[in-house]
């Protein structure tokens, strides 16, 4: 897809696609997304932006974008159908109000014009606390769900629902559908009513079994009060009184008939069309406002998992100073040294190994060589009077390092024969067995013998 086509995708659609991808990944496991992730990283922006970009790329790859367009078309068709239904409903309501027995019972007519609408409005208000939307909204959703049950459409519907829910858009979105439906229906009723009243002569009357005429006067004036403020005619008290079925002023008197017709139209406009129009506007406003505040909930697990891939907390910078090829350890030629006596020396010991151990008389203790000065001294001493046998004790629990190995090598070259005594750790100390092997390996490369038991016999007699 070309970049210009990408820009056509609105922010809302981006969120919708992201939600669709999220749901399908949540239920069907992660997608192969290395390319999409790379593109999202390259596009930059905040984590949320990158999630949206990634989803868009995946959606393009999987043909979701086209499916979204189709879904929208189906939804549009369904809206059109709903609109036709509304017009039909309005016409029917108006017809039912005026046709039938003559003269027209004004309160019956008003009831059939506004009754269903007011009842639906009541239901909508009650369900407002929940998702809102009422029967018409649900009917529309169900219809759209029906027509796009297969392929991608099946995932787009639930995703839209889930997205609207989380963003708090459901009540506004469905509200728009519901109120637009009723506004259309009531406008259609108004048009039908106007046409019928223009083309035919209707007489109006009221009748009662239980109530007094005064109650009707009050009721009529109460209902007509608001419309009259907008200029709709309001039958005066005498007209109302004279319009009962027996006196028949609403049928005979021209002015009374017009007053009643105006009263009916005014009530339809003020109690039907105006509230629906206001609610429609309110829902449209709420929708726009919430839409502006549409954000991605980055803590949803399906998104949180993506964080390290889209906005890595750390990235390797690569090797800046490569390792040299491993040099072959130079085997210094071991000079032949006769030497005299036996000597025991320790390197890098701590208080865990009490030093020195009990030594036979013939064996000299050369102490511990740790500091540079001690090492230097020891090397001097060995150069001056090399021993025939030298045992070097060390703690194999320390890691092998070049410095220590070099020292051991130098010491060994200054004696007739040398052995490294790998001390056994006290029982309470954690022993890493692999270290033993590493020491033995390193020392055998230097051709130095190792021993794990005290080499006193060897030091004393030259053999084990």
């Amino acid at each position: 897809m070309t970049p210009s086509a990408n820009q056509a995708i609105s922010p809302f659609d981006r969120h919708w696609l992201a939600e669709t991808v999220r749901l399908s990944e949540g239920h069907g496991g992660p997608r192969e997304d290395s390319e999409a992730n790379r593109q999202a990283r390259a596009a930059g922006g905040s984590f949320e932006t990158r999630v949206l970009t990634r989803a868009e790329r995946l959606a393009e790859r999987d043909g979701l974008v086209g499916a979204l367009e189709q879904w929208r078309q189906s939804a549009g068709v369904m809206l059109l159908a709903l609109g036709l239904l509304a017009i039909l409903l309005g016409g029917t309501l108006a017809g039912a109000a005026l046709e039938g027995e003559q003269p027209v019972n004004v309160f019956w007519a008003l009831g059939s014009l506004l009754g269903v609408h007011l009842l639906a409005l009541l239901v909508w208000t009650v369900t407002l606390a929940g998702t809102g939307g009422g029967a018409v909204g649900r009917l529309w959703l169900w219809l759209v769900g029906r027509i796009s049950r297969h392929g991608h459409g099946a995932r787009l519907g639930p995703a839209l629902w889930s997205l609207l829910q989380r963003a708090g858009l459901t009540r506004w979105g469905l509200g728009i559908v519901v109120h637009a439906f009723w506004l259309l229906a009531l406008l259609s009723a108004l048009a039908t009513l106007l046409a019928m009243l223009s083309a035919r002569r209707y007489g109006f009357a009221w009748e009662t079994t239980l109530l007094t005429p005064e109650a009707f006067v009050t009721l009529t004036r109460a209902i007509g009060g608001l419309p009259s403020l907008l200029g709709f005619p309001l039958p005066d008290v005498d007209t109302v009184r004279a319009s009962n079925l027996d006196q028949g002023a609403g049928v005979a008197n021209e002015a009374a008939r017009q007053a009643w017709a105006g009263w009916l139209l005014g009530s339809l406009v003020v109690y039907g069309i105006v509230p629906r129009a206001l609610l429609l506007a309110a829902c449209a406003w709420g929708w726009q406002r919430q839409l502006g505040a549409l954000t991605l909930d980055a803590t949803l697990p399906e998104y949180a998992i993506l964080r390290d891939r889209l906005v890595p907390a750390s990235t390797p910078l690569g090797v800046s100073d490569p390792a040299e090829p491993e040099g072959i350890a130079a085997h210094a030629e071991r000079p032949h040294i006769a030497g005299q006596g036996a000597m025991l020396v320790a390197v890098e010991l701590d208080e865990r190994h009490p030093w020195p151990p009990a030594l036979p008389k013939q064996v000299t203790d050369a102490g511990v060589a740790d500091t540079r000065a001690q090492r230097q001294q020891l090397l001097e001493r060995l150069t001056q009077s090399p021993p025939a046998r030298l045992a070097i004790a060390c703690d194999p629990m320390r890691s092998v390092d070049r410095g220590t190995l070099r020292l051991i090598g130098e010491l060994a070259r200054l004696a007739g024969a040398a052995r490294v005594w790998l001390l056994t750790s006290p029982p309470d100390v954690f022993v890493d067995e692999s270290r033993w092997a590493q020491w033995r390996e390193a020392l055998s490369e230097l051709s130095i013998e190792t021993t794990e038991s005290a080499p006193m016999t060897w030091l004393e007699h030259g053999h084990d």
């Binding site: 949540g26 998702t131 829910q165 697990p301 906005v311 100073d321 490569p322 040299e324 410095g403 220590t404």
Partner: protein, 458 residues
């Protein structure tokens, strides 16, 4: 955007420099780690980022191995009577031939430290303070860069942190940091950055932002993890399957159901590992109680439940079918009367159609199979333990994590209400044939359950 702070991670060989970096990066794949000395023989950089913007650059360096000889050599280079100017001396040394040969490894370290803003001198706190280590710190000090000793492995019982503290103080290095890269304390990373911010005031704001970002991410990760576990539990609690009365049919269905539950648990485990940045193929996860990211102990084995401290009934503990009727126990799965009643209630509230199907099914002798409470509790406890283990685990850890019976009383006795609600809604299970997962009520219950899990982890 200011230049990121550049820190060289230096130290003796085999003290865990690469591990330290791995843990800070949350990336178990960085560099190479082994118990052998001189595993890292090159300089490798890593950038810590905030929302994609580099904040901190860390450089892993080879270990110092022969500080004593180098110090001897440097003293040779120094002309007698001259005042000691560390960086100048080192520059002269780096120009010489020995720097390329005998001290090639040390050269890399010094070159890197000279090019950085400061050095983190990693110390294995279990080691005794040997003269060679002190010589090392002396050479590093010659670079003229702020040097912060970092005591690694302080979680170990036989550490000598105090000795090191004193020895470093004698060398004028008072700003000691503690950080265990294998078992980092909960706020270890934060304390590390805070200490650094105190000592490097210029980098203070950046480090502050890094702290805030890392904390926010940790909180978000935990929230997501709890949600993943909640989804798993709701899926399994809601799972229900109709099965004919014949024993073979029951047995077959039980097997199939167990398989599906195990697979679902695995899916959650995989997601948790992904969330915490551990990959299945990492050697590190091989040492979790998972082999290649799979649980070793079977969820439906009585021993597993016992280990997790889940109390089970006689039939389940024995692992055999006990009796017949509505409370028939089959392996880990019970046909509870409560489940059936719950199912009926759910059916009524949903649609008359389902109700009649279910009732008809009952009359025909078909029954409902659902997952037992004990299994649900075991699932919840096990995943929570995994979550805790993953949170507490540095990306450098190579020792196994042991999963023991939990010490608190979470899930002893009663299961959380969302699970009871889910029992009545088979369509809430993603394992159902016709799942309906985006229902507002289901989402609310998942949210409530996730909160409860989070409460028990916090």
């Amino acid at each position: 955007m200011t230049e990121p702070l550049r820190l060289a991670v230096v130290g003796h060989t085999n003290v865990g420099k690469t591990s330290f970096l791995r843990t800070l990066m949350r990336d178990a794949a960085f560099g190479e780690v082994s118990s052998r000395a001189s595993t890292t023989r090159h300089v490798e950089g890593a950038s810590l980022q905030i929302e994609g913007q580099p904040a901190l650059e860390l450089f892993d360096t080879p270990g110092l191995e022969d500080a004593m000889s180098l110090l001897d050599y440097l003293e040779q280079l120094r002309r007698p009577g001259e005042r000691c100017d560390g960086p100048a001396l080192l520059t002269e040394f780096l120009r010489g031939t020995e720097a390329q040969h005998r001290f090639a490894q040390e050269t890399k370290v010094l070159r890197r430290l000279l090019a950085s803003d400061a050095g983190l001198y990693v110390i294995d706190a279990r080691e005794s303070v040997l003269p060679k280590y002190l010589d090392e710190s002396q050479i590093l000090s010659l670079c003229g860069k702020p040097l912060f000793p970092v005591l690694n492995f302080v979680a170990s019982s036989d550490n000598r942190a105090e000795e090191w503290r004193e020895a470093m103080a004698r060398r004028g290095l008072h700003a000691l940091l503690s950080f265990d890269s294998v078992a980092p304390p909960v706020d270890g990373e934060k304390r590390l950055y805070q200490s650094l911010a105190l000592m490097l005031p210029d980098a203070g704001p950046t480090l502050e932002r890094l702290i805030v970002d890392r904390e926010a991410q940790a909180a978000a990760r935990r929230r997501s993890a709890c949600r993943l576990i909640a989804e798993l539990l709701i899926d399994v609690a809601a799972l229900r399957q109709r099965v004919a009365a014949e024993p073979e049919a029951v047995e077959q269905a039980v097997g199939a159901m167990r398989r599906r539950v195990r697979e679902r648990e695995q899916q959650c485990t995989d997601a948790l590992l992904r969330l915490y940045g551990f990959r299945q193929e990492d050697a590190v996860t091989g040492e979790l109680p998972l082999a290649d990211g799979r649980w070793q102990d079977d969820l439906f084995h009585p021993e597993t439940l016992k280990q997790l401290g889940v109390r089970v009934g006689g039939g389940l503990a024995a692992g055999t079918a006990a009796g017949a009727g509505l409370d028939l126990m089959v392996g880990g799965i019970t046909l509870g009367a409560g489940t059936i009643l719950g199912g009926l209630a759910g059916g009524v509230s949903r649609a008359g159609r389902q109700f009649s199907v279910r009732l008809l099914g009952k009359l025909r002798g078909a029954r409902q199979l659902s997952v037992d409470d004990a299994i649900l509790a075991a699932l919840a406890l096990r995943q929570r333990q995994l979550l805790r283990a993953l949170e507490a685990r540095g990306h450098a850890a190579q020792q196994p994590v042991s999963l023991n019976a939990p010490k608190d009383d979470w899930l002893r006795g009663k299961l959380p209400p969302p699970l009871a609600t889910a029992r009545a809604h088979p369509e809430w299970s993603s394992l159902d044939e016709r799942p309906d997962l985006e229902q507002a009520n289901r989402q609310a219950q998942v949210g409530a359950l996730a909160e409860e899990i989070k409460g028990s982890v916090d």
